[in-house]
Structures are given as C-alpha cells and as structure tokens.
C-alpha cells in the first residue's frame, strides 16, 4: 500500500513540475464551473476570509528553525530552507506565547494553544472557546460547514474547543471529508439522507422534551451539566436543520479522484499529505472557511527512513546529537509537507488572487522547546491573509518576556472583519509596537500594506 502511495506522489509532483511556475493544479479550475457561471463564481468566491491553524504537538527543534537575524535579510535555517520558495508569502514570528501555561503535565499546553486559558489540566481548569470557533461564531460564514476540525490521523481529538470549553472531535478521515464535501448521492440516497436528518431532528426533540421534565428534579450542582446537554441537543438540532437545507443544494464538483485513507498511523507523512489535500479542496470549494488541524505527534517510531527511535523520546533529545539528527529527519518531513500545503493554496487561483491570499494560515506549536516542555518562545509561522510577509519577526523578548500570542489572534480576527479588541489573554498591544523594542529596526507591519490589502 505504501509503495502505491509513493508512486502517486511522484506522479503528482511530475504534474506540478510540468505546469511550471503557476503551479495550477489541473483540477482546481475544473471546480469553478461547477458553480454555474464564471461571474457568479467570482461573486461567490470573492475574498472569503479564511483561517487555518495547524498545530504540531511536539514542536520543532529551535536552532533548526529560527534564524539568528530578524527582518527580511535573515539567513535560511534548515527548516526554512524547505519552504523557501514561499519566502515572500510567510512571516516567521518568534517571541510569542500564552501566559501561565504550566499545567497538569508537559503536554497539556496543547489543550490551550488556541484558547490561552491558564493552567491546563490543573484543578479549577475549564477550557474556553478556541479562536477558530470564535471566528466561526462571529463570522457565521454561509458555507456547508461552519468550520472543519481535523486530526491528521482521521478520527480523534482536535485543537478546537466549543464555547462551553468542550473539545470537538475531528470531522473524520480524508475519505469521510471528501464524501461530505463532494460526493453527491443518488436521488434515493439524498432522500434517505433527508429522511435520516428529519428522524434525527425528531429524536432530538424527544430527548429534549424528556430532559425538560427532568429539569426541576435535578439539584443545583447538576444544572451546569444539564444545560450542557440541553444546549448540545439544541445546537445539534440547528445543525441538522441546516444540513437538511444543504442536503438539497448541489455540491461543488471536483475533478480529482477520491482520496484513499492511509491506515498505517505511523506513516504520518502520507497521512498529512492527504489531509493537506483535503484542506486545500475544502477551502477552494468554499465548503468551509475555517479549519484547524491537529498534526500527528506520537510516542511510537514513525515510519520514515533513518528514524528508529520513538518520536516523543526524540523530542526529549537531551542534547544528544544523534537524536537531534533523527528528530531533524522527522521535522524536515513535516516542513516538506507544510511546503506542499503552501504550494497548493498558492497555486489555487480564484477570482481575486490565490486561495492563500485570502487565507490566514497559521502553523504553530504549543511547545517552544519540547525537550524541557517549555511553552514559551513558540514557533509561529503566519502565511497568506494579504499580510506583507517575507520576514523573521521578533515579536517579543525571550522566555518570560514573550509577547502574547493572543494579540496576534486579535489582529487576525480584526483583519477578518470581527470587531473585537480582546481574545484570551490579549492585552491590547499590537504586535508591531512590541516589535519596535528590538535594537534592529523591524520594518514588518502586521497590518496589510495598502497595495496588498485584499478588501
């Protein structure tokens, strides 16, 4: 199975090379006509503001990622070299973190990477809404899916949390996603699906009615969980209702073969490749505008030539050179896939530029140094979104002097049209003003330059 996938990849690469600089994938254009006329398509797709966050739970080895220099003239590091073809499309930001992330163990900061709630996992901890769900709530995009919450492994947990602080399970495997987004059933299947949705709604009515009778009989301590149940039922009911409407609408047509799930969970490269393709498809078809992806991180030995030590173990390299070398193999593979994702989004053209132009793509990790479980100095790579890029931005000091990652979240939210000056532990400071306290002049402005602004 693995061999087949490998061959597939080669052939796709070959296609990419053949098309030259524009990197236009053959199937991308084929998608637009699916939405009636070109003019209509242009209108529908005009500047959707998108947000994608990908979190890597075991971080990246800092010296291989962060350049010594700030600004545009930074020297490429081993990892940045792998994405250098997009150098003018991204900004690597250092010196950011959330405050007080010391939690139940060294990895609990993953719970809060998009929420910034303090002390994950400790007594009294209750997570809050993640930035992606916040954006979906505020923007209410009229897409088939308000957001897609993904996990490279297919099913599993995610980095997204609901407004009640509950982790959202991932939407499914690439095959599931493709089916949800593009596969149009036969009339009988559509009818059956509509009937199922209707049945689902009446089931929810029933359990809701039953719950209401119970309300008075429960103690005061039960109220919160009871409300969570009732709210979940009500929200699902709403979602099924909207699904019912969407079920009758045409799905966008795509000219790509359906994906095949990669069942070997150790083969994280193949898994993330397929998932990245689904992300690109989801955005370009405007099936959703908001996506999070929890990238694979594992204890086991991943399937990659030259690696024979557990990944988690490697992240605790203890400065052992051999381990750092193996870790580099893994993280380079990750960056090659990140490069592929950037290429896909950039190559996907739409009415007014590329999909990447209208996407705030944030690649980050909840660990700045996995070897010591440090949740400071997080790696944050921001691409697209019409921002002016091409720099290494030192947004804050080192360690305890880090600037707040939530300030960046706020700026992104504002760019996307959300009227807010607060999220998580943001303190109202804008990133560029923090940046000026560096000795070197940092010309980067995290506001869009007038020329490149999208809207």
């Amino acid at each position: 199975m693995n061999k087949i996938l490998w061959r597939k990849r080669l052939s796709r690469r070959a296609v990419l090379r053949g098309t030259g600089v524009a990197l236009t994938l053959p199937w991308l254009d084929a998608m637009v006509p699916a939405l009636a006329t070109k003019a209509e398509a242009a209108e529908t797709l005009a500047q959707p503001k998108r947000f994608v966050a990908v979190n890597y739970g075991l971080g990246f080895h800092g010296p291989n990622l962060f350049p010594q220099e700030a600004g545009t003239d930074y020297k490429l590091t081993p990892y940045l070299e792998l994405i250098q073809e997009h150098r003018d499309q991204f900004t690597l930001i250092s010196g950011l973190s959330h405050t007080e992330q010391n939690g139940a163990n060294g990895h609990t900061s993953e719970f809060t990477i998009l929420t910034a709630v303090k002390h994950p996992g400790l007594p009294g901890f209750k997570n809050g809404i993640s930035i992606d769900q916040y954006l979906a709530e505020k923007l209410q995009p009229e897409t088939r899916f308000p957001s897609l919450v993904l996990n490279t492994g297919g099913r599993g947990d995610s980095i997204s949390w609901s407004s009640t602080g509950v982790n959202l399970p991932s939407a499914g495997t690439p095959e599931d996603l493709f089916k949800m987004m593009f596969v149009v059933g036969t009339p009988q299947e559509v009818q059956k699906q509509t009937a199922e949705l209707k049945r689902g709604r009446s089931i929810l009515d029933t359990v809701n009615e039953r719950a209401k009778k119970l309300r008075g009989q429960l103690g005061s301590r039960d109220q919160e969980k009871f409300e969570q149940y009732v709210t979940s039922v009500r929200e699902l009911e709403k979602r099924l209702q909207s699904s019912q409407a969407w079920a009758l609408k045409d799905k966008p047509r795509v000219d790509v073969p359906p994906p095949t799930n990669v069942t070997d969970r150790l083969d994280f490269v193949a898994q993330s490749r397929v998932m990245h393709q689904m992300i690109a498809l989801a955005l370009q078809s405007d099936s959703t505008r908001i996506i999070t992806l929890k990238a694979t991180a594992m204890n086991d030995v991943p399937k990659l030539p030259g690696v024979d030590t557990g990944w988690h173990d490697l992240s605790h390299h203890g400065q052992d050179e051999q381990k750092i070398d193996e870790l580099k193999l893994i993280e380079s593979a990750e960056f090659r896939e990140i490069n592929d994702l950037l290429s896909q989004l950039r190559g996907a053209s739409e009415a007014d530029g590329s999909v990447l132009d209208s996407t705030n793509l944030m690649v980050l990790s909840n660990l700045g140094n996995a070897s010591s479980h440090s949740w400071r100095d997080l790696p944050v790579l921001l691409a697209g979104g019409g921002f002016k890029h091409g720099r290494h931005l030192v947004a804050g000091g080192v360690g305890n002097d880090n600037a707040r990652l939530c300030n960046l979240f706020v700026q992104i939210a504002q760019r996307m049209g959300v009227q807010t000056d607060r999220f998580g532990d943001s303190d109202g400071t804008r990133i560029e003003s923090i940046a000026t306290n560096q000795s070197k002049r940092l010309p980067f402005e995290l506001a869009a330059s007038s020329k490149e602004a999208l809207g």
């Binding site: 405050t99 007080e100 010391n102 939690g103 060294g106 400790l122 007594p123 009294g124 947990d157 609901s162 602080g165 509950v166 982790n167 959202l168 399970p169 049945r199 689902g200 009446s202 089931i203 929810l204 009515d205 029933t206 359990v207 039953r210 719950a211 009778k213 119970l214 429960l218 103690g219 301590r221 039960d222 919160e224 969980k225 009871f226 969570q228 149940y229 979940s232 039922v233 929200e235 699902l236 979602r239 969970r265 150790l266 204890n299 086991d300 030995v301 030590t309 557990g310 988690h312 173990d313 605790h316 203890g318 400065q319 052992d320 070897s371 010591s372 440090s374 400071r376 360690g399 305890n400």
Partner: protein, 817 residues
Amino acid sequence: MNMKRSGRMNLRNCDPCSIVADVVRYILLGCCLTSAPLVAVASEVTPFLEQHCFDCHNDSTKEGGLDLTSINIQSDGLSDVGLLAKWVRIYDRVRTGEMPPASTERPPASELSSFLRQTAETLNAAHLKQKGTVLRRLNRHEYERTLNALLGTNVQVADLLPDDGRAHGFDTIGEALDLSPVQIQRYMEAAGIALDACVNFGPAPESSLQSLTFDTGRNERNIGKSWIKRSDGAVAVVTECCSAVKVYELQIRHSANYRVKLHVSAHQSDEPIVYRVHAGRDFFDSMPLLNVYEAQPGDAQINEFLVPLRPQETIRLWPELPKYWLKDTEIPKYTGPGIALHKLEVEGPLYAEWPSRGHKLRFGDIPAEDTGPKHQRDKSWYRPAYRLVSSTPEEDLRRVLLPFLEAAFRRPATDEIAEPFIAIGIAELADGVRLDDALRTAQIAALCSIDFLYLLEPEGTLDGFALASRLSYMLWGLPPDTELLSLAANQQLTQSETLRAQTERLLSDPRADYFSRNFTDQWLNLREIDFTTPDKQLYPEYDTLLRHSMLQETRLFFDEMLQNNRPVTEFLDSNWTYLNEPLAKHYRIDGVDGVAMRRVSLRPEHHRGGILTHAAVLKVSANGTTTSPVMRGAFVLDRILGVEPPPPPPGVPGVEPDIRGATTLREQLEKHRSLESCNACHRVLDPPGFALENYDVMGGWRENYRSLGKSFPKPSDELTGGSNVSWRVGPPVDASGETAAGKPFNNLDDYKQILLSQPQNFVRALATKLATYGSGRGMGFSDRPELNRIVQRVSQRTGGLRDLVHEVVQSDLFRSK
C-alpha cells in the same frame, strides 16, 4: 502531609499534637461545622497573613508565584474551585509548619491556632457549598460496556466518541465529563450500530471448524525464504523480523466467540519458545495483545483459548526470538531457535445466547416473518429479510418499549418518563413508517436520552436505584444487574447490611476484574505506559513482552490484595509479588521459568517489594531517557501520600536533561534547590524521587546511571547479561536524601520504613482515591473528617484492602451525592 509536620513540629518544639490528635481535631471540626452557621468574618486571618506572610508573598516579590495581597479569603468568595484549592494548600502548608519557612520567626502558638481554626471554618463552609457529585455522564468505556451489556452485543463504539476529560486522575468524575453537539450525533450513530448488531432473526449461524496450515496462499511465498518448511509439514519461523504470522484464509463472518487451537512446538530448541497472540482489527502495529503462550520442545502441543472476534478481525502470532533478521540465504543453515507452526484450528461462531438479550428486549414477543422473494430462498446467496408482523402496531410498540426503557434507564420507567419515547414511535407509525423502524427510532432516542447517558442522582442521600448504579459502575463498569435492581426496588439496598452483602457479591464476581484493572491503571497512571518509550540505545532490553509483564504484575498485585483482603500497607512494602520469567530476569531474580505470572516470594537483596518497586510504576513516573526525582517525587506525593503537588510557579523553566555528559539530573537540581524560593517546594517534592533513584526508567535496578558518553567505561557481562550494548557505565547513583520533616534516608528501603511509620497517611490517600473514583467527585476540605473515620475503622479492623473498599462504600461519601 502529616508525616512531615509532626517531624518538623517536634523539632521546632511548638505544637506537639500527634496524628491522632489531628484526626480528632478534624472530626470535631467536621461535627461542629456541619451544624454551625456560616462564619462570615474571619477576623484574625488577614492580620496573621499581614504579619507573617506578606513579606514574601506580596504583589512585587510573589515568592513561589503567590501574591497573598491579591487573593482575599473573605471577599473573593471561594466559589472559584482553583482559588479554594489554593487556599486549602495555604492552610495545609501553614498547618504542617512548612510555612512560614524555618528561616523566619515562628508565629506564636495562639495566633497560629486561631488562624488555622478560622481558615478551616471558612474553607469548610466554602467546600460544603460546592460539594456533591455533578450530573455524571457515562464515560466512553462505560458507555460501550453498557450498550453491550444491555443488548448482548460486542460492538466497538468507544472509538467513535471523543476522549473523556479526567479530574483527580480519573475518568469517572462528573465535573470533567463534558458533552458537545458532535458527541450527541455520535451517540445517535453508535446507538444505531448496536441496535442493528443485536438483531438475531432466524436460526443461529452454524458453527464450523476451520482447519488451516501456515504454508498456503499468501504465506506460500515465505516458504524457502524467511520461513522453513519442515519435514513434518510444519512451518518454522526463526527470526522476529516480519514474523507477525497470520493465516490469510481465516474467515470471520460473524461477531461472536471463536475457539482457537494453535498447534505449535519449539524449533531447534530445548527451551520453550515464547510467543504473543494478538487479536483484533488487523493494523499491523496496534493489534491488541490477547495473551502470551509458550511452545514447548518436542511434538506439537495445543494452546487453546476462546476469543471474541468481529468480521474483519483476525489473530496474529509473534514469536520472541534471539535473531531479529537473517538473510534469506542464511536461514536454511541457521541452527538457532525458532517456533514450529503446525496447524491453526478455529471453531465458531459460538453464541452464549441466541437470539441475543438485545433482540428479545427490542422486539419482545412480536412475531416476525421473512419477506424476501420466495423463489430465491433456496439459493446459497439468499439473505432473509425479516419484518415484524403486527396487526396492532401502536399497542405492540407501547408494550415492547416499556421494558426496553426500564432496562436502558436502570430504573422503573413511569408513564411520564416513557411518554415522549412512545410518542415518537407512534408519530412515525402515523407517517407510514414500519413498526421495525419506528421502534428503532424510539430506541435510538432512549439511548440518547439523559436517563441513559447520565447517572441521575437525587440531592442528598442516594435512593436505591442511584446507589445500585454507583456500586455497579464502580466495581463492574456495568449497569446494575437484576439482583441489584430488585433490591433497589424493595428499598433494601440502602440498608447497610444489604449494601455490604452486595458489595461482597460484586467483588467476588469475575467481573470485578474491571475494577482491579481500571482503578489500578488510573490510580497509578498505568494507562500512560506508552507515553514514552525507553531509549533503544540506553535500554535495549525493553520490549513488548516486558511491558506486558510489568503491567500484569501491578494489576495482579492489586487483585490479590483485594481478593485476599491483604493489609493495605503491603502496597508500601511486601515480601511477595507477581512475576514471570522476563520480569524476574529484569529484576535479576532467579528460579522463575516460563511466561505465566505467578506469586513469588521476595528477599531483601532483590530490592523489591511494594508498588513503588514495580517496574510499571517506575516506568510511568519516568520518561524514556532519564528519571526525574521531581516527577517521581510528585508521583509519590499525589498517588501514595494523597497530596496534590503544587504546579511549578509561572516563569520557571524546566530542567533540561543532558544525557551526554557527567552531570546527573540530581546535580542539576541541586542548583535549583539552593534557592530558597525553589526549595520551599522542592524539599517536599524531591525526596521520594531521590529514594527511587536506584531504579531506572523501566524499573531496572542500577547502581550507576547508564550513559552514552564515550568517556565512561563499558559495562561488565554481569550487567549486560552478555549482550552487546552501546551504553556505558555512567556516574554512580545517589539515592539518599532527607524528608521535608528532616528524616534522613540512604535508599528506598529506609524511605519505605519512614512511610510505614505513619501508615495512616497512605491509607487515607488510598481511601480518598477510592472514594473519588467510586463517587465521581473530587474529595474536598469538608470531606476530611469522613475520610479520617474510614481510616480509623479500617485500622481497627484488619487494615485490609477489601475492608477499605467496604468502608468507602458504606461511607456518606459514597452513599450521598
């Protein structure tokens, strides 16, 4: 931690009160406070803090990350759980004499006691307000077990559901068990899967015997290459690489039990060959381990077992062999050991019940008939299409649904409860939906109802049904059986003697395995056994079999403690444990042959005894390369002494291990500990970890650290067992230290004696864990008196684990919300 307190207090000669006096004070406090009105003003608290604490804990210095000037015990209202926990920690540290620190002036005894009294009153009142189990959802394991028990199925639906939140180390805590819209959607999906899986119309599928060999089909290509065909027809496998053996022709068509007989023998070996059997979905690397067997030298023998399998599942065998890989050309000449595989026999499907419990529950006595085309019925490929036959569908629906609801909801279904579920079925019938489907819809609704998904418990003392569920889920992870439910209905279960007898019945049942395993795994964090993998260069001995054996040791140990009511203190030190050959070799204990786990007596020179010396416990409290005294210390504090260790203060980076050089983590820590602000916590945290330093990351005994530094000497054969290893003999281990109370120890043996000198601390910690796990809520400040009563009662009896479980079940903690 009282152990530390009394030591310290004696030294400081200021508060001679003993543990017993302390216990009495707790009890008095509890009794007074539950009846006393809320004390609103704690007049002496603030002056005390101002005088003795603010110097260090103010808004600018914030020693240890604590700014006492910003958190007021009165005005902040302790409704915030985190804040209450913070104040309890402050209280405890002042009470035990840890604070104010030794370097400062002692507060006068009178000031101290009135500060403690007033703080305790406030904390008690605050906790009473937020006490009680929060509406508790079944976690996904309980949910799956409940569905399968209800319907007599064996469906795997837990994986459809998101991972559950945990609190206080357990996944049975109402507060941490959240719910989202997606999850309800998944419940609908899972319910449909289980309801469909239990349908058993027509006759049971006939059982057949598949008799297979290992040299056919896709396995044929291995013969003459990596596998050898022997003259007696068996296939011999001599290398581990790629040797996960399966027979591709094995066909599993039904979800049922199958009897498997493996005909095997040792190949070119006078010793038995160990092999693992994995069963489940055929994901090469993650198939669950079923059991470990041995192939004996000589003629083929049969290893037989019964295993539940579902369609698309299979079994694989993994022999444990000295050679990992050989060239195909070397294999015929190889004279080393291997396993000879003669035959695989699989008999099934075997059903305990046909039709299933779920089938009867779903359809009752409504007859069904095959509605498939009559002229096709004699065809081999024909699949019958059964439909319910009813002339009075509404009536039938109503009649069949009531017992279903009762079984699903674990209590009688009154008309009021049943009405919405009947209504949805009737509405579907009115829409022209068939009775089968209308019933299914109503039953899915029932399985998504709050009555099924949650344990509904009234305020105050639990009624019989709530108690039945609590007990059953605690000990079996299952809904209450008929006996518990009928005792609940007769109002007998709430009587102490009946409750005790039922607890005894549940504990004696094989299903109590669930409790032993589930509680042990969560209490000691064994679920995280794979969180890190021991470094291959430093710890080449670690493998699947050792991992499996170490988990077995701790689970079997707990089980024996429970079944034989062994004194709880044996968790701290015992002269016995459970071992098999791989684990005994790991512990360097001779005379244990074979893979079967058995009880083994321990001698002092083995350096083993009690759970702190169990390899699994030592493994989960370390990472893959190093042991951190801080992490292990925190583990012991939390899980053995019941003190939730404070989190590291903000702004302090973790110590970054360096496995290249000569600096041990301990030496790196010394720097940390030399700072007074760090030492305040580390003098408490680190000592238990120091005592465990003689045990490496996989629980092996060591006198020197293993290192990859090339400057260190190579190990002797005695240390390596003759294998070729790349690690070197690093710096010597220092396992000595001093408890926070000032008691010195040289090694774990000494430290265990210190623990054993005040066993109540451990018994109380374990009682707290049991009460937390069973009642579904964290124990708080106002629960302390009742926990102390439990400890006293158990100590007065045998001090045994089974008695402790009984006392917890009998206590108010378990019997009220």
